[in-house]
Structure formats: C-alpha cells, structure tokens
C-alpha cells in the first residue's frame, strides 16, 4: 500500500522550489519595473527557509519519500548553515553584479536553484536522491561561472569546470552503479546492511566501487588530486561567483561525504579511512605549499580552500562521533571565514577597481581601517591563530585524531598549518605595513555591507571565544542524526 510522503519534511525544499519559479516569473515580467526584484525575492526565500528549518531543528528525524529523503537534525543544521551563508553571499554580491552589468536575475535564480540542489543533497537517503541533488547544485554553478559570456576568462573557467565536473560526476555515477550491482539497492540503509554482511568475493567489487565514489566526492570537495579545477575556477569566475562557489557548496559537499561514508558505507570504514588519509595529507601539503607561491589572492584562497578541505577531512578520518561533529564544525566555520574573505574582496571590487592580487590590498588599513581589521580577523582565523574560530576548529579535529591514536597525522597536519601561516600573515603584512604605490581612494561601503561584513568578521572572533554552543550543536546532531 502506497502512503503519501510527508511533505512537511521537505518544506524548505518545496518553498525554495516554488520561490525559484516565482522569482523567474517576477524577473521576467516585473524585472524592468521593480529594480532588484530577483535579489529581494531570493533573500526573502532564504530567510523563510531559514526560519522553517530553525523551527523544526530538534524535531525527530523523518525518512520519507519512499525512503529517499532523510529529514534529520544533521541535515537541518547544515541546511541552516547553507541558507545563512548564502544570504550573506547574495548580500555581498548585489553591487558587484549590478556594476559589472551581469544579468542579475539569472545570478540569483541560478544561485537559488543551486541552493535547492544542495538542500536536496544534504537530505538525501538514497544514491539517486544524492546524485540528483548533486547535479542540481552543480549545473547552475557552471552557468554562473560563465555569466559574463563575453569574458574569455570566465567562459574558459566555466568550460574547464564543466568538463572536469562531468568526469567527476561520471566517476561518482559509475561507483554508484557498482554499489547497486553489489547490493541490489540504492537506499543507504540497505546498502549499509549488505555491505556490513558482505563476504570476501564481493568486497573486491565494493572496494572498486568505493574508489570511484570517493573520487567523485573528492572532486566536489576539491581534494588533491581531484582539485585541479579549484584554482582555475576561483580565479576565472567573477568574484561574486567565486564567493558563492567557495562557501555553501563546501558545506553541501561535506554533507555528501558524511552521508555516503557514515550512512551508507560504515562497513567499509577500514577501506575509506586510508584513502581519506592520503587525500587529506596531499590536500594539506599541496594547498598550503602552493598557496605560498601565489600572488593572485583569489588563487591563493583557492589553494587555501584545498588545504582547509584536508583539515575538515581529518574529522571524518577519525571515524568517531566526535570526529564527525568536528568535521561539521570545521566546515561551517570555514564557510563563515571564506564568505568573509571573498565577501570582502567582492565588496571592495567597486568603481572599476577589481581586487585580484594580494598587492591590491596594500595600505587597506589606511584606506578603511575597519575593513582591514575585519580582513585581519578572517585571515588570522583561517591561519588557525587563537582565539579565532579557525583555531578552535583545528584544535577540535586534531583532538579527534589524537583520541583515536592518529598522533602522527595530527603532527603532520600541524606542520602544514605552520607552513600555511606564512601566506596568511603575508596578506596582513600587505594590508598593514605596505603603503600603496598608487594613491588609491578611500574605500567606502553601503551600510548593509558594512553591517554584514562586521557581523561576519566578529562571528569569527565570537565563535572562537565561545565555541561551546556550536560545538554542542554539531555533536548533538551527530548523536541523533546518524
């Protein structure tokens, strides 16, 4: 007997889907009359989704839509973070989009579509839902990178992203198909059950499938050696799009990794743990080391994101509840930091000025001391300097590692973190100690940007000093959700 699915479990996704249609229509018919209508509608839908999710955060988990959709505390927390971060992203981007004459309606609508994909992905309880969410979240992003059709760099980046993305998706899909072959199911719970019971002959196939799936996940996360697209896309895309790509999708990708490894494949922990260790080490090493040689700040932050993914994976590697919760904590705090950093670059790229190189930040402390200070908070936090949230996040993942006796890995991670400090501090040095050669005018921001940047920057500080509540939240969703 077929029962109706519990629609309320997917209320945020349904709302977002409807709002995409509404915004599309409104932009088409009212776009010329009401300025920025798409922006406001999208922001309203994000706020509404946020409120919906926040209200039911602690409700019991519901698995519905024939077991394809899992509405649990874990997915709600990550969806909340995705909505919140995206709200800030769109806020930072508005002037940039207008000034660069980019089709603004498309930017917001594509963005919201991508967010819908992320929400579905986060809640997926079936490889099919997962793949559908993933594609829904990826495809609009390819288009967003190429929003400025006439820009060669943009289109090149979009093409690269799309093609390697197709390869990545292909790998993932191939892995999923092998899992289906091995387990006769796409449902996470069933897969997990079969994998746990599987005997030796099948495990060869399972490992084969696992490697493909891991590759697909690593591509989305941007972990070495599936990272090559990251610097080119970060650099090639308009800064507002980079801002979008760098923040919420990281949360979604981490959610995908946790869904697959913890919900579907806990039985293969002994296989995926070493793979992730290798990926994490390579990511931390390559990300931190190559970032040093970058003069372009967007590329530098791209390599920095590769390194941070390595650190976030350390929490998954620990394969304990504490480890998973620290991975969630890490990825959320990273999203806050990176939206702050790219957000600052976006809001400063105005009046014909485009912040591309680290040198463009010269003398920022004179031109706008508050902005420079906010950048300092964010960059220090990324470098993992106390008392900022980045430090707490690093401490947490390292602690999780040490508690499962992976001390050597923690030590290695620490070593790369030390190397990483160099290029972060260099940004601060440029902002505070290098006087700008060209006389650049003072940077002034609209009030809403100022408030948003301040909230973002201070959040990094406040969460670093009082990390307890967010930690507790991450731990509780892991305890109840998985």
């Amino acid at each position: 007997m077929q029962t109706l699915p519990v629609f309320s479990a997917a209320s945020a996704e349904i709302l977002t889907g409807i709002m995409i249609c509404v915004t599309l229509l409104a932009q088409t018919f009212l776009g010329d009359k009401v300025k920025q209508i798409a922006y406001y509608l999208v922001q309203i839908s994000l706020v509404a989704a946020f409120i919906l999710l926040a209200r039911e955060l602690y409700d019991p988990a519901i698995i519905t839509f024939s077991g394809m959709f899992d509405d649990d505390a874990f997915s709600r927390l990550l969806k909340l973070s995705i909505c919140a971060v995206s709200f800030f992203v769109f806020l930072y981007s508005r002037e940039y989009i207008t000034e660069k004459n980019m089709p603004s309606g498309e930017y917001y609508i594509l963005g919201l579509s991508s967010i819908l994909g992320m929400l579905v992905l986060v809640s997926s309880y079936n490889f099919l839902t997962l793949f559908m969410g993933l594609e829904l979240f990826s495809l609009p992003v390819y288009a967003m990178v190429a929003l400025q059709r006439k820009s060669v760099i943009n289109t090149e980046a979009a093409m690269k992203y799309f093609i390697v993305g197709a390869i990545g998706s292909g790998m993932l899909l191939y892995g999923i198909s092998m899992f289906y072959g091995a387990t006769q199911s796409l449902n996470f719970a069933d897969v997990a059950k079969v994998v746990a019971d599987s005997s030796a002959p099948q495990s060869m196939l399972l490992v084969f499938a696992l490697v493909f799936v891991v590759s697909g996940v690593a591509f989305k996360l941007g972990a070495v050696p599936f990272h090559m697209w990251v610097p080119d896309v970060y650099d090639g895309a308009p800064t507002a799009v980079t801002l979008f790509i760098s923040s919420a999708p990281k949360i979604a990708a981490m959610a995908m990794a946790l869904r697959i490894f913890v919900d579907a494949l806990p039985g293969l922990v002994l296989q995926w743990q070493p793979i992730l260790i290798v990926l994490a080490i390579f990511s931390m090493a390559l990300g931190n080391i190559v970032a040093i040689a970058q003069s372009n700040i967007k590329r530098m932050l791209a390599y920095s994101s590769i390194a941070h993914i390595g650190y976030a994976l350390l929490g998954v590697i620990a394969a304990t509840d504490e480890g998973y919760s620290t991975a969630i904590f890490y990825i959320i705090s990273y999203a806050i930091m990176t939206s702050g950093a790219f957000g600052l670059l976006t809001v400063m790229s105005r009046n014909g000025v485009e912040i591309e190189n680290i040198a463009d930040l010269q003398g920022l402390s004179d031109r706008n001391p508050w902005l420079a200070f906010m950048m300092l908070l964010v960059i220090f936090s990324m470098a993992g300097i106390p008392p900022f949230v980045g430090f707490m996040a690093k401490v947490a993942v390292l602690e999780a590692l040490i508690s499962v006796h992976l001390v050597w890995l923690a030590a290695l991670a620490l070593l790369f973190a030390i190397i990483g400090v160099y290029y972060y501090i260099r940004v601060i040095k440029v902002m505070y100690f290098d006087s700008s050669k060209a006389k650049q005018q003072a940077v002034n921001l609209p009030l809403d940007k100022n408030i948003a940047i301040s909230v973002n920057g201070l959040a990094v500080l406040v969460l670093g000093i009082f990390p307890g509540s967010l930690f507790g939240l991450c731990l509780s969703v892991v305890h109840t959700g998985f």
Binding site: V164, G168, V214, P225, F226, I275, I289, V290, A293
Partner: protein, 656 residues
C-alpha cells in the same frame, strides 16, 4: 617568651625594609635629614631587637626558636615557607650585622653629606641590612639564598653607586659575574639537597643527615662520591664566591670602587662573611665529609697567605684593606675547615669590629685627603688627624693580633685549632696561617708607617686644609674602637674556650674533629693567655712582620726599592695579583668571547638561521614554485590527474 622572640625577629628584619622602601620611593622628594632619620631609626630598632634577642638566646640560654612567618610557595608535595630559625648563631650574626650597619649609617651622614645620591644610598644600605638579616635568620636554604642574592644585588648596586665612573660600573659587573659562578654551584648544591633529602628546611635536613652519610653518587662512571661531599663542595663554591676565596676572590678589590662606608659594611664586616656563616650553619653536613672540610681548610689557608702577599705591594689605601679582608676571611674559612666553627664565628665577630673600624678610619683619611687614596701621596698624618690615627692604630693592632686586642684572641684560637686538626692538609694550612700572621704585620704597619708617619708627601695646598673629620664620622670610629680592644677578652672564654660555648648546639662538630674541646682543655684563663700569647708562635710572626715593616719604611726607606729591584719577579707577580686576573681574562673573557663568536656567527647565523630557519623557508618556497607548475592550465592535464589519482587509489587498495 617564644612569641616575644618571634615578634622581635620579624620587627628586626622588617624595620630596615620599611625604611628602605619609604626612602627609596621618595628619594627624589625628601630632604637629606629625613632620609637618614628614617633609615637610621629603622636600623636602630633592628639593633635594639637584636640586642634583646642576643640577651635572651645567647646570654640567658633560652632554647632556639624556629617558626614559619608565612607559606610562600606550595607546589605538590614541595612546601616553601618564609621562616626563621633564631638560635645562638643567628643571634650573634643579628647583633654583628645590625651593630655595624647602625654605625655605618651614622658614619655615612657625614661621609656622604655632599653626595647627590644621598637618599638612594641610605635606601640601599637599609635594603642591604634587611637582606642580610633575612640571610642569617632563614630556617631554610631557599630563604637563605633569597637573602644571599639580595645582598649580592645591593652589593652590585652600591659598588656601582657612582655609576658615571667607568671603573665603578665595571667593578660592579665584575662582582656580579664572579658571584654568579659561585651562586651557580650553590644552586646546584641546593638542588642536590632537595633531590636527596627531599626538603630545604634546615631542621629536616640535619635530622636526616646521619642517615645520608654513606649514600654515594656517580658523577663520573665508576667513581662513587659521597653525596654529602658533593653537596658540601658545591655549597662551598658558593661560599667562595661570596666570601672572596681564591680563585673567586677577584671581585673584592674592584668592589672598592664603591663608597667607603659600603666597603666597611658590605665588603668587610657583613656580606662577605655570609659564606663563613653558611658553612657554620651547614656544619652538620660538612662534618660528615672529611674531603669537603679539607678543601675548605686548604682554600681558606691559601687565601689567607696569598692575598696577604698581594696586599704588601698595593698602594691604594682601600685596596690594601680589601686584600687584608680576603686574608682574614681566609682565616675564618680555615677555622671552619678545621671544625673550629666557634673560633671562625668569633673571628668573624672581632673582624667585623676592627675591619669596619679600619675602613671607616680609612674613609676618614680619604675625606681629609680630599679623595686621594694613594698612600705614597700621604705621610705624617698623625699630626693632622689624631683621632683617626689612634683609632686606626687600634684597628691595626687588632688586625695584627697583638695581645690583648680583639684580633689576638680569635686569630690565636684559629691557628691553634688548625695546628690541632688532623684532617688532610692541616699541616700545610698551619704554615700558611703562620706565615699569614707575619704578612699581616708587614702590610698593616706598612700602611700605618707610610700614611701616618714619615715625610709629608702631599701638596702644600692640601696640607693647609688638612683637618679632622666631622663628628658623625669620628663617633662611629670611637664606638668601634672599644669592641676592637675589649671584645676578644670579654668573649674569648665563653665563646671558644668553653665546652658548648656561646654558639651552643647551633653548630655541630663531630667528636673526631673536636679541636675546640682540646683548646678549651688547655685554656689558661682570659688574662693568663695574654701573657702566654707572647710565647705563641703567631705573636712572634706578627711582631716580626711589624719589625720588618718598621725597618723598611721608617728606618731604611730605600730598602723596599732595592728589594723590588733584586726580586723583581716576585714583586711583579704580586703586583699582577698572582696572575688571577690575567688568567681569567685570557681563559674566560677572551675564550668565552671566541666561543660566543663561534656560537653566534657559525652556529646561530649560519646553521640555525641560515640553514634551519631561512633554509626551511626557502626550501618551502622553492617547492611551492615547483609545485605551482603542476597547475598547467590544460584541461587534459586536469583530467589526467584525476584519472591518475583514481587509478593510483585503485591499485593501492586492490593490489596491496
């Protein structure tokens, strides 16, 4: 009763500190009269308390008081208290310190009258008094060390009191550095005590001492040492630094750059005797180790003779007395080495009086001569400054140990004790000390004859204004002259020549070392010993010294010049201070400089900074620039990397 002593001890120790703090903080704002009134009252209170404590503990024989003032540090099982042990030894030291300090405070009112750092000077002196009382009153080693470092600090500050003068600044550095050497060993000794005894409290250490007597330690493989020997030698090296024993004596002559009252208080009467006091205080440990005692004896006797020799060729009035101080400290240390602790402390007591007297009298000469310190530019001063002359002469007779002056009793007791001692090195030491008595006579009366007799070698203009020093200067001289004459006779019997004398059970002597008992058995009586003293060898040596001095500097003043020509190598050796400074300069100063240069230019700049620090950074940047090239920008490279990664993982997981 115990409560009274408890209170008085705290009062005695803290009164100078309060005075020092008040004057020190306000030194720029208050007139001179207030500065010295406050500090002198502080020290006077301290002196009165000390007198009372001395009366109670020493004369009336109340039992020793051991109390804790407050818990300073508690760390795990380790407990560090600020506490005081007031026994006979402490009472005697309290009395000596506060008495001399009080007189020097009064003397300084006149001596420092014209100085711009007047209040600062008094503040330092009171701080010194506080630190010294803390040192001698401590009931544990850490507090002793606190006072030990405190007096070292004030000594440094006061040697460099006239810091504008290069020689004063350098002298203070030298004093500080040489003392660090000793302090380092002292710290190691304390650490060893803490390690083996588990406590730094005297009473607990001494209670455990007999059980530790046979414990050994392997410093070098296969050569076991007694733990107490190691501890005692380390502690003694600390004492060598503080009490200026060869070879750590080199700082004391330089300390004469400080104002003269300081030379009297710190570098003659009190601080430099801290080492002697410490050995007596730790006597229960030293008595367990013949090796350590023997070392103490030999070092003390050697210092007594050789620093005396150097004194003969000095021309600076203060430096002569400074070398004399080292020589006399050598006697005290030697007495400790011979287990005659009471004789050592007795000499400390008499020496404090007559050496302070000599220094203060020398200060009086220096004021009269308008800060001329070369004795060969003086002469026949007895005509101009008679009071100073008489008091100086009393001090000199006491120093030369002529009966019945104070020094005679104490020095005679030391030499007798050493002659009776049976530990290794006693014979050598005995001859050193005897010769030392002769040398003392020579340099002391050379000073008297050249300064107060003979031709007047000062300039005419100076001669016109020569006059006796002010009252505040003369008063302490007279006060100090009295004990310099009589204290020996008064205290000799109760202090040295009685079983369980004044020091009672506050020092411990093993029965096999008990020379004091033999001395006591032979004691003929206070007055009888004056006459029998004329028959003792030390007297004849001292008298011969005086005679030689008279013959050379009064009868035939040309003789010393001839001696210098004939025996120029000996003269040069003495003038060059027997080569200790040159040795230190070549080995430690230049050697260390070379070593430091090596550490800096090669180890630090080249290896650590160049290779490790900059090298790792540059290496990372180089790797970074290489790795950057991986990002070629070609799509097929990217796809290739992904495929390669995939296959790498597959092969790794499936094959291995």
């Amino acid at each position: 009763m115990e409560q009274t002593i408890h209170t008085l001890t705290l009062l005695a120790v803290l009164a100078p500190l309060v005075g020092s703090i008040i004057v020190g903080l306000l030194c720029m704002r208050i007139p001179k009269i207030i500065a010295h009134s406050i500090t002198i009252s502080g020290v006077a209170i301290s002196f009165l308390c000390s007198c009372y404590i001395f009366d109670m503990i020493v004369l009336q024989g109340y039992p020793a008081v051991n109390f804790i003032a407050y818990d300073w540090v508690t760390s795990g099982s380790f407990n560090l208290d600020m506490g005081f042990l007031v026994d006979q030894l402490t009472s005697v030291m309290f009395l000596v310190v506060t008495f001399v300090s009080l007189l020097v405070h009064i003397y300084s009112v006149g001596y420092m009258a014209e100085d711009s750092g007047y209040a600062r000077f008094f503040s330092y002196m009171s701080l010194f008094t506080f630190s010294m009382l803390l040192l001698v009153g401590a009931n544990n080693l850490i507090q002793l060390f606190f006072g030990w470092e405190g007096v070292g600090l004030v000594s440094y500050l006061l040697i460099g009191f006239w810091y504008q003068k290069d020689s004063a600044a350098n002298g203070s550095f030298k004093a500080f550095l040489v003392n660090r050497v000793g302090d380092f060993a002292f710290l190691l000794g304390m650490a060893a005590i803490l390690d083996y005894f588990g406590t730094i409290n005297y009473a607990q250490i001494f209670a455990q001492a007999p059980t530790m007597a046979a414990t050994t330690i392997n410093i070098f493989p296969h050569s076991p040492w007694l733990v107490v020997t190691v501890i005692c030698i380390l502690l003694f090296i600390g004492a060598m630094g503080k009490s200026a024993q060869i070879p750590l004596h080199v700082w004391l002559p330089e300390s004469m750059e400080g104002p003269t009252p300081i030379s009297a208080l710190i570098h003659a009467a009190t601080m430099v005797t801290a080492g002697v006091f410490m050995i007596a205080r730790m006597s229960p440990l030293f008595e367990l180790s013949d090796v350590a005692l023997s070392l103490v004896l030999v070092i003390g006797a050697t210092t007594a003779l050789f620093t005396g020799l150097i004194a003969i060729v000095q021309t600076d009035i203060k430096r002569i007395i400074a070398y004399s101080t080292m020589s006399q400290l050598g006697y005290m240390v030697a007495a400790n080495g011979a287990s005659a602790f009471s004789a050592g402390i007795f000499h400390l007591l008499t020496h404090a009086c007559f050496k302070a007297l000599l220094f203060l009298a020398a200060g009086s000469v220096i004021i009269a001569m308008h800060h001329e310190q070369d004795i060969f530019k003086m002469g026949n001063l007895k005509k101009y400054i008679p009071t100073t002359y008489v008091t100086f002469l009393i001090g000199a007779l006491a120093l030369t140990a002529i009966p019945p002056f104070a020094g005679f009793y104490s020095k005679d007791a030391i030499i007798e004790a050493v002659s009776l001692s049976t530990i290794p090195g006693a014979t050598y030491s005995y001859f050193c000390l005897l010769l030392g008595a002769f040398v003392t006579g020579v340099y002391t009366f050379r000073l008297i004859f050249v300064v107060f007799h003979g031709e007047e070698k000062m300039s005419n203009s100076l001669r016109q204004v020569l006059h006796e020093s002010p009252k505040t200067v003369r008063f302490p001289l007279i006060i100090l002259a009295i004990p310099s004459v009589i204290i020996g006779a008064v205290l000799a019997k109760p202090m040295v020549y009685t079983m369980m004398g004044l020091l009672g059970n506050s020092v411990y002597v093993a029965s096999s070392h008990d020379v004091a008992a033999e001395l006591a058995a032979d004691f003929p009586g206070t007055f009888a010993i004056i006459f029998s003293g004329f028959l003792h060898a030390p007297f004849w040596f001292a008298a011969a010294g005086i005679f030689v001095s008279w013959y050379c500097y009064v009868k035939h003043p040309s003789l010393p010049v001839q001696v210098v020509e004939k025996a120029s190598w000996a003269y040069k050796a003495c003038v060059n201070k027997l080569g200790f400074d040159a040795f230190n300069n070549i080995i430690f100063v230049h050697g260390l400089k070379k070593f430091s240069d090596f550490l800096y230019y090669v180890t630090d700049v080249k290896w650590i900074d160049g290779w490790v620090v900059a090298g790792s950074g540059n290496g990372i940047v180089r790797i970074s620039n290489l790795a950057k090239k991986l990002q070629s920008g070609y799509l097929y490279h990217y796809a290739f990397a992904m495929i390669l990664g995939l296959f790498g993982l597959l092969i790794w997981l499936l094959v291995f």
